[in-house]
């Protein structure tokens, strides 16, 4: 090819930041970096020193979720860490991380107080220390451990089971009724959340959990149990119909794209939501507008 100068890697020079960048993680200064070199950032203390060590469950763009223990090794707890982002200016990084993690904690604390089904907040540090002495490693938040599957997994299991099981019409209807009941419970849980003056900001079937109940019938996939809302990383305190409607719209879209089989059943979500609190009808009215509007915007220039 006649074209020559191509940057496959950016220039890693920090000379112009020599006054502001106090501590640079050593790994970003390596000139070569392969996938094998990757490891999640060091845990903030005291979690770098607990037995058993926390196990990494999921890694999102913003946060890492670990399972650990609280107070004594028999009490499990969920640990959410927002590692510092080395690409950001340290002052900006701290400002954002602190604002976001305290926002999440405030929402959780408020919801627990209002009796909404969410994991309880156990501990928080918005200036967690990193691997090295005094290093800024990010912020962390510890929550009650919720046993069970997320609704996405429960529905996937159910869909797979429905495909395999040969059911007559009556049995199929009975099964669908169970999903409808679940959808209504989800709607009611979201209604309780909105009633408390909090919007979730990222409702998907992965952010709703089913706390299982003991059932004798092991033939069926568990769809019973309490619905617990999790991951309040994008939550905010709002009582506006617009925000509530967007919450519902996002969940509707998520159900339609991840659970095509359950899409027709999602109406029950609205049914469950409608009766859950006084402001629900006006939020649902706004939802109709939001559905029409969608997200698509024609762009200028």
């Amino acid at each position: 090819m006649s074209v020559d100068r191509v940057y496959s890697e950016p220039h890693l020079t920090f000379s112009r930041f020599n006054l502001t960048w106090a501590v640079l993680p050593t790994y970003i200064l390596h000139s070569t970096f392969t996938m094998e070199d990757y490891k999640p950032p060091a845990l903030p203390s005291p979690f770098n020193n607990t037995t058993p060590p926390p196990t990494l469950l999921t890694q999102g763009a913003e946060a890492h979720l670990y399972k650990t223990t609280s107070l004594n090794p028999s009490i499990p707890a969920a640990l959410k860490i927002r590692p510092s982002k080395p690409y950001r200016h340290p002052i900006l990084d701290r400002r954002l991380t602190r604002a976001r993690i305290t926002q999440e904690a405030r929402c959780l604390a408020k919801l627990v107080r209002e009796g909404v089904s969410v994991p309880a907040l156990l501990a928080l540090d918005w200036e967690g220390h990193g691997g090295q002495e005094g290093g800024w490693g990010g912020a962390w938040l510890m929550m009650e451990w919720i046993e069970g599957d997320v609704v996405r997994v429960a529905l996937e299991k159910w869909e797979a089971w429905m495909k395999k099981a040969s059911l007559d019409d009556e049995q199929t209807q009975a099964q669908e009724a169970r999903v409808r009941a679940l959808m209504r419970k989800m709607g009611a849980a979201i209604g309780a959340l909105h009633k408390a003056g909090v919007v979730h900001g990222d409702l998907t079937t992965s952010n709703l959990m089913l706390r299982p109940v003991d059932t004798n019938d092991t033939n069926e996939v568990g769809l019973d149990g309490d619905v617990v809302l999790i991951d309040f990383g994008l939550a905010s305190q709002s009582a506006q119909d617009e925000d509530r409607a967007v919450d519902l719209y996002v969940l509707e879209r998520a159900i339609a794209s991840t659970h095509p089989r359950s899409e027709g059943l999602a109406e029950d979500l609205i049914v469950g939501y409608r009766d859950s609190y006084k402001g629900a009808p006006s939020a649902l009215k706004r939802l109709e507008d939001v559905r029409l509007r969608g997200r698509k915007r024609s762009m200028l220039g």
Partner: protein, 363 residues
């Protein structure tokens, strides 16, 4: 197969000639020339002046490109032009020229989406196969990923483009528009040390810049840093400024404002790109568009990609900033699948979303 690409959606007029060899070897750039309409400091480029510039330069540039590429008119297979999005008057000037050449030489026309042009050129130059694309320029800010024959927009700006935000702040500070306001902000920002608090507006995978511009314009006014006189002062004692800002830690300098603006808006861009990467499970990022030639943005994106175990692909100003070869490249890919733009449909449009294009050439 040889194509001429004609681009003029903003203040850059670009003519490029690309060749896709018949034996299937990598495409070659035969000519890539550009002429930019530069407005005086403190002013943006107006559509009518920019259109006039394009009209008066387009013939010269096409002639020069053919000469540089050492091809004759007979060798050319098709004429590709920018259909949109962009500013109306400049787009129209170039589409008229493309139509004229098509009739004069008897060549077929291919209308190209400007954003798809950027993406295809970026993919060709860097060799990134299936990256998450951050397209950042004076008119567009989008996070894009390919999925089933469309370039889908995952996140975008809710108001103005990031390049527009930078350009307009350059106007406030009366920074030169030559070669580009963004480039001059980048140079000034290198002297900045103090981070000024600015709004930080990210909503999911979307972002917004107008509030940041209003805030920093307000700060510039408050500290008396805007306007022509300050810009002159800067030029006169540019050497003393670095020393002065160190002693006066409290009051930010013009450089500090540029530095803070860049740090804030680029952090937002990297964050939404990271979200999109986590969402689609991709490890490659490709940065295209004029703002993509900013080395600080490339550096920040590089650190983010590294932390995710991936890599960043970026190009320099020849391919990042609007050019003719990207239109030729994307046009030829479409042309290869049988796509043609009949003369009667050879219009341009200011609004043309990236996801409206059916990407037949990828699977």
């Amino acid at each position: 197969m040889i194509a001429i690409g004609m681009e003029g959606s903003a203040n850059k007029l670009g003519i490029g000639i690309m060749q896709h060899p018949k034996d299937g070897s990598p495409p070659q750039v035969l000519a890539n020339i550009r002429h930019t309409y530069v407005s005086p400091p403190g002013e943006g480029f107006l559509p009518k002046d920019t259109a006039r510039h394009h009209r008066s330069w387009v013939v010269k540039l096409v002639k020069q490109a053919l000469k540089e590429a050492r091809v004759s008119v007979d060798d050319v297979d098709c004429i590709c032009f920018t259909k949109g999005p962009g500013m109306g008057a400049p787009l129209q000037s170039v589409v008229v020229a493309a139509r004229m050449l098509s009739l004069l030489w008897g060549k077929e026309l291919v209308g190209v989406n400007h954003c798809v042009g950027h993406i295809e050129m970026g993919r060709l130059i860097t060799g990134a196969t299936n990256p998450v694309v951050l397209y950042v320029s004076g008119g567009n800010t989008q996070v894009i990923a390919y999925s089933s024959q469309r370039y889908r927009i995952f996140g975008e700006t809710l108001d103005m483009a990031v390049g527009n935000c930078l350009d307009r702040f350059a106007r406030t500070l009366h920074i030169s528009n030559d070669p580009a306001p963004g480039y001059n902000i980048e140079q000034l920002a290198k002297q900045g040390k103090q981070l000024v608090d600015l709004p930080y507006v990210v909503k999911g995978m979307d972002c917004s810049f107008s509030g940041i511009l209003a805030a920093i314009d307000g700060l510039a006014k408050e500290w008396g840093l805007g306007g022509e006189e300050k810009a002159k002062e800067d030029e006169e004692k540019s050497s003393q400024i670095a020393a002065a800002s160190e002693s006066l830690e409290d009051k930010p300098t013009r450089a500090d404002l540029c530095f803070s603006l860049q740090e804030t808006v680029f952090s937002m861009l990297v964050e939404i790109t990271e979200r999109a990467m986590a969402h689609v499970g991709s490890k490659q990022v490709l940065i295209v568009g004029g703002v993509g030639s900013n080395e600080r943005l490339q550096e920040m994106m590089g650190i983010m990609a590294r932390d995710r175990g991936g890599s960043v692909y970026a190009t320099d100003e020849r391919f990042c900033i609007d050019n003719g070869i990207m239109i030729a490249q994307a046009g030829m890919l479409a042309y290869g699948t049988g796509f043609r733009t009949p003369l009667s449909e050879s219009t341009c449009t200011q609004r043309f979303r990236t996801d409206e294009v059916f990407v037949k050439w990828r699977d």
